[in-house]
Symmetry: C2
Subunit: 321 residues, 2 copies
């Protein structure tokens, strides 16, 4: 067994990463979206990183994977009482990572170092790697102008129609040594793009200068797992965004977004009829159950993805001979 | 009835200020020590200001007046889990004021403005005024060198013998317009130095350039209430510090610290025998119950103090005529 690199954001991405983690432990590196990061009350919040940390550490809340289990809101209640802002709601436990992260950044530590220290303290054997130590922010283009994804989500309730996206800072952001090392591993067996919103969770990572080339040249099959099942997003606003952007609301449309980057695409069993159509985009495709309700589901899907990657590697080797 | 200005720090100071507040409401201004303020995880903590706010708002914990009632420690538990520092312990509700204060200061708002906004939101009709908007820090001189009072308290457990104090920044700190206005009120009836550690809660305020003169020239009697009863401090480390500084451990010794500043000194009934001895220092003195176990105790003591000030004013007026 070799190394695996996952690209992930959001709760769905963390779930599949957790499945991969349970199969590969320290051989897994997860590159995580930081373009939805935001500052609030002077603190640096990294929702996708923290979701990943809580999930891999096994302390994510069952119904709310973006926060630790047993979350409370005493700080927020007092912030409100003292006249502070109502949104976003600050969870007590969730504040801890933001406090330590802000303090570390102010002390000139890199986001990657800070995140790896969190992994160590939480007993996570895998490496959770921010996509970059430089600041990248997704802006949602609306009829009223551009807003950060955080404002779009937390203050506008994802309501204004989406006209497009901009990834501020992406072209200038550097890929960290840790991400480089993970993608240069000689025994890399797969690069997995986890199920997550393609526009604000996955695209920012791919927009970083050099990232697409690095993924293509890793030598391992690049596999993406659909976040769209039966014509709708399992969670979040991906479906709404696709409609407003004039995209066909289907898993095939997602596969199209990753064309020329991925070698294989994993559809849900419900979309088995789309397999041929996705193959016509010039990639391999399979259809398996992708809904992860239990931890077992995560592991089963992760194994399907790794098997799929192995089959692509075998075919390639056969073709070469 | 006129205006009252109190100088206060710590829990004892807040209790007497609360008694004065219940008698004078919006006619009370409290100047609060900020020389024990500290930074932790990038946040600005002002323990004496927050103790005062919680006390006047009626939300201070019964047995722990420095924090809001119902305090919890979810943030701290998670900070520890993520590898953060163990000391000082961060209370969830207590964090809110620190978060908003830090954010306000980063936004170039003055500490006084931020504090008055807290008063407004907490429904406090009195004015809680930081002693200065400039940074002043009490340093405790020990055999191993100088440490901030916060480090002395939170990290050294107040153990090293005290050789003296320094008030870094006090001579350069400016008195705010709000403190000036409070002390220039035409109908000022009393300036009350509340019971608190004379070295790190009261002295820093008196060390600010011009503060002593301003108090003397306010025209109102300046009254101090003893923090020492029957040869020991009711709470905190004042007794230990006095011993180590070679001071006589008595209320008279405290009166001596305030000599040439105060017009009257309030002893506890237990120290009634010291009244004459304090008077020999060149000030008025009375002995009344000063232990504030209940809210009623606070009001009764506050009334005694105001009556004492009134008697001094009457005597002065009689002497002038």
């Amino acid at each position: 067994m070799g190394c695996v690199v996952a690209l992930a954001g959001q709760v769905g991405g963390a779930k599949l990463a957790d499945g991969l983690y349970r199969l590969r432990r320290e051989a897994l590196s997860v590159i995580v979206n930081t373009a939805d990061d935001y500052e609030h009350l002077g603190l640096a919040f990294s929702p996708d990183i923290d979701t990943m940390l809580y999930t891999l550490a096994g302390i994510a809340a069952a119904g709310a994977g973006w926060e630790p289990e047993g979350e409370s809101h005493a700080v927020h209640a007092m912030v409100r009482r003292l006249g502070g802002p109502d949104r976003p709601v600050l969870g007590d436990r969730s504040l801890a990572a933001a406090l330590l992260r802000s303090d570390g950044l102010a002390d000139d530590r890199r986001l990657t170092e800070i995140t790896l220290a969190f992994c160590r303290h939480l007993g996570i054997a895998a490496r959770v790697l921010p996509m970059s130590d430089d600041r990248v922010r997704t802006h949602v283009l609306t009829d009223e102008g551009a807003v950060t994804f955080h404002d779009y989500f937390a203050h506008l309730g994802c309501e204004p129609p989406v006209r497009g996206f901009q990834y501020a800072g992406a072209s200038a952001a550097r890929i960290s040594d840790e991400v480089m090392d993970a993608l240069h591993a000689r025994d890399l067996e797969a690069v997995v793009i986890c199920p997550a919103n393609p526009y604000h969770a996955i695209a920012p990572m791919l927009e970083i200068e050099g990232m697409r080339t690095l993924l293509r040249r890793s030598g391992a099959p690049v596999i993406a797992v659909t976040p769209i099942i039966g014509g709708r997003a399992l969670r979040g606003s991906a479906g709404k965004m696709m409609r407003e952007l004039g995209r066909e609301l289907s898993a095939r449309s997602i596969a199209g977004e990753y064309r020329r980057l991925i070698d294989g695409f994993v559809l849900d069993s419900d979309d088995a009829l789309l397999v041929e159509s996705v193959r016509s985009l010039g990639m391999e495709a399979i259809a398996v159950p992708t809904v992860m309700r239990s931890v077992d589901d995560r592991v089963v899907l992760a194994q399907e993805v790794l098997d799929f990657a192995a089959s692509i590697r075998l075919r390639r080797e056969a073709e070469v001979q």
